[in-house]
Subunit: 350 residues, 4 copies
């Protein structure tokens, strides 16, 4: 019952096998091997267009370097108030890009378009004192388990376009969002106006595989230097490539995300059927936020369950009773139906 | 015949096996798992004292963050003129630490103590305009295949101590240097006055395992933040820990380095016995610099050999003939006697 | 009728005279002259304790370097949502300090203590992902013309102390705030818990005189390097010292601020007496925010008045009519009663 | 007898008078006043073409921001080994530009073209590990009192052009170099290929007036943001403009530099005529390096002379006797013939 985070899971067997095979051979270093090049081409196929792809070590690196590629002197990046880039990356985006993250409010972890427009309007391109709008970043799926619909992405992208701002998507849980929407990678990104994507594999079955995908090659011009200067160029880069090979082969990545989402659905259905516990708010991908009796939470923990108590958002409509707890549960490729059912059973018995 | 670099090798089977096992289980993220903690303790054992250990993604990160931990406003770091930190890391050490790298000359890739002293003396602690001496970094084994003797380390460390400067060691090829000297990890580091070590595993049989080892815990005080802010904290950190577990178990790491060094010895002996090729300068660890007839080099390449032509150092005593080439050859845990002998045979036939 | 900003005024005759005298002599450069030293001692007298004083070129430099002196890796600085450091300095505080500015809401340009406490509580000292609280900065007088009372400073300082955070005060309009409160420099700063002060002279009669005053000498330890590294050490530093000599002599600075405040009072009284215009909110120092008929504003401009239309704050209780405008008016040492009366007369005639 | 530095002098009366007049009026802040604009146009006239001009607080700021305007990720700036940007600005150029300064040797304070070419060739545009050449900066007049001839500037500029690198000139003593060469501002800069100039007024009669002049407007595109983000935008910017107005009017600046140079000539002639002291090396502008008996130096100091003992350059052909001292003497607009003659008289009497 490991629901603490999808990054508590190990690596999928197919990915592990591919790594094992890779370990036995020699190959050129620093991303110049044939395998590296082949995987870069595979991304073209996945996204149905020529893209520039760069591997990095962490999701934080993917986000921070994506924004660094969009940096302008005195530039500001607009993100949701609870976005990972502003609240969970210890200032790496600011450090790598030299930009400040400007928080934009909105319900359900999504920037409200009106708020985004209003904030951007305060920082026009000649605002030497205030700083100038330089980039927008959105998280898909969001930090709170929701997913921007394609129409909602269109709305954000339209604002980006109207203000001539590049649009970044933090896709740490990209596959989960894709499967939640039933959209193709192209449909959820460049076809809507996304310029740069943090493409995460680590939370969905790799052990370390993060990529930055540039749909706008102009933004990638200096990127090889930006990556090296931030110590993110692996010497044995091809081990990242190997993971992505297995990950992308025969749609494994989509299957893994579907499984994780299905496990979250099972949790959601379970909570909806209980009267001893309930969902805190609706979610779409592989995160579930539930309100449990503290006794259930404690009992689950004693039986080995792992999850995080969550700080109550200011705008949560549900009220917590004294003896209740808000918890976040994250499912992954490795979550089993048994785990889910056992957890629900504990809650039911409260 | 892959002699281009030790980072062209794959991963050792024992390390690969350990990774495979790790892939099947859940564990806490971001370096908080039991395995992460166990390996941190293992480092205490290896170094015969309590150390603070942090995993990072690359050797460049290890060096750059080590120096960041020593950073002072207006600080300067002294390194050899050809050091990796100044010539091969695209400014990452400067960016992460905010310090400038000051080159110090010396033969055979080692800072000459007199030069180091003279340079430091130009930047006293109140030198607001020039900047002030803040750190010394030495590379062991060096970029050109040599190894500081224990006495030579003492000399550098004495200068560090006399100037109250912390001393960093870039140990990308730490194990190769250890085995070349027949010294213990403690003897080659903190017992001589090294404060922080970049402990590299990647070049010696891991696919991605770099650690920073703090012998002076005071320097590690802010380190967790420095690492996160530079996007170097792996979520599935325990996969680094797993590699180090196998690497350090039963002295595997020392055996692998001994093998690489022995292969370099075999190359050295071979070149010494040839009159068609010769060593460019003496080396001690797993790098060999040789002067070959261009025809031999070409023939070797055609038969699949990989190595780099090397830019001739200004102070090289040997002179190259028109039809000769200076090449760097690096051996690794995966180099075989057959590879070495085949290469020498090609040279002999020139 | 120059009400656009107090930095539109020139320099006071006494300060100009002192500069003229200074221009005729030689003196040591880079802040080492006798005059520089004497003025540093004068600050001890003004603040009734030993302080460390450093001159810089701009108020933005004073704020940004003050925060740089408090910087910690992954550190966060808490400031009011509308503070100069977050909204008007183009990211200089972030760039110089490496910290992010975290906005804290509160009415009348002042951080509400509850909000400050709540924000700080989200960033404890081990919050590697979120970043950690590292500093608090408050503006006195605030951006919107109000002044923290001594009790209110106590409240903020108590929060700083409880969280072991250093407290900075942006005193671009320090003298105006002092005179508004009738407090002594010591009473409004270190006696309440302020650690570092941006002491502004430029807006109050100097042409370029900004100082950073350290009440906690430990924070000044590296400061000479921080200042030089940000290109803020004047070679002819003694011309700043000369301005401060005249500024501080015989309480000139306090007289100038009193005059500016009195002119603002005269404006306030005037608007209160009109029924064609009104104050937008109460202010205490040398800024006045008024709601005028657009026709009055236009007429005033045609007659040479200068002022800025102000973006309406979200929480402003007053409502603007269609034909009204919110304007900011700033008075200075150079504002005359005639200017004030003429402006009011124009408004009265609307 | 103030020969310590030209920044020990005060301000010229004409400049002081202009400042006094400026102090009595109101004007728009932050460089937007009519005066600021008029002086920008005056620079067009001085340089015989449309230029973009920005005022900053210090020479260090002028250099550091000039280089920041040329910055590229992983970029390297080439400068003379003893250049101010690498040895006397506490890392401000690195901090503002994110680039490393790469030292290039050459006699008499000038980069030797062969050395410059060789260094640049090591850092081609795809050198991700080494970093890539991004800018060249030369100092005119140099740190050691010499002046690049127009032909020598051509040589450096040709290298810049051949490598597609922008060329910066540190003109802290620009006027002194101009007068030494008898060249026009245009001839010594953009007509030879200089792209950006640090135009110093402070050492030559202003108390604080430094400007950055962009001959290539493309490099100025983001400059307003770079300047503000480094806290270098004066609110009362027009006081800089006022100094430049008087400075540039009726060629005052050239007259002042001619005077300083003439005083240096007088020193040089004097030393050449003595057999008790001698020149250490030939200089052309307003700096003189002399070898004195220590007794003379002591005697001069006792009589009020101020100068700096200079660290002996490694390549100085002259040898110092035990009882001799190498001193640097700098003349300025305020140096008198009497000062020079008195100093020489002391030396003669040794």
């Amino acid at each position: 019952m490991f629901f603490a985070s999808d990054n508590w899971a190990g690596a999928h067997p197919a990915i592990n096998d591919r790594l094992s095979r890779e370990s036995t051979r020699f190959a050129a270093a620093y991303g110049t091997s044939d395998l590296d090049k082949a995987i870069e081409r595979k991304f073209n196929e996945v996204f149905e267009r020529d893209v520039a792809v760069f591997f990095v070590a962490t999701g934080t690196a993917a986000n921070s370097l994506s924004l660094a590629s969009m940096a302008r002197a005195g530039g500001l990046t607009f993100c949701h108030t609870e976005a990972h880039v502003i609240e969970d990356e210890c200032g790496a985006p600011d450090f790598f890009s030299g930009m400040r993250m400007v928080p934009v409010d909105g319900p359900a972890g999504k920037m409200r378009p009106e708020n985004l427009k209003e904030r951007i309007s305060r920082y026009p391109q000649d605002a030497i004192h205030h700083g100038r709008a330089a980039a927008i970043t959105m998280t898909q799926a969001t930090e709170v388990g929701t997913v921007y619909t394609l129409d909602e992405i269109d709305e954000i992208a339209a604002i980006a376009k109207a203000n001539a701002l590049p649009l970044h998507m933090d896709g740490a849980r990209f596959a989960n969002a894709l499967q939640a929407l039933g959209a193709s990678p192209a449909e959820m990104t460049w076809k809507r106006g996304v310029d740069v994507l943090s493409f995460g594999g680590t939370k969905n079955g790799c052990w370390c595989a993060e990529a930055i995908v540039f749909f706008d090659p102009a933004l990638a011009r200096d990127f090889a230097f930006l990556r090296k200067r931030t110590a993110q160029l692996f010497s044995k880069s091809r081990f990242i490539a190997a993971q992505f090979e297995a990950y992308l082969k025969d749609d494994l990545w989509l299957d893994l995300a579907s499984h994780a989402n299905a496990m979250a659905d099972r949790l959601r259905s379970g909570f909806n059927a209980l009267n001893t516990a309930r969902l805190a708010w609706p979610t779409n991908a592989n995160e579930v936020f539930a309100i449990l009796p503290r006794t259930s939470a404690k009992q689950a923990e004693e039986q080995g369950a792992r999850f995080y108590e969550w700080l109550q958002p200011r705008d949560m409509p549900e009220k917590l009773a004294e003896d209740e707890m808000l918890v976040r549960m994250v499912t992954s490729f490795a979550t089993t139906e048994e785990d889910v059912d056992q957890f629900l059973k504990i809650c039911a018995s409260a």
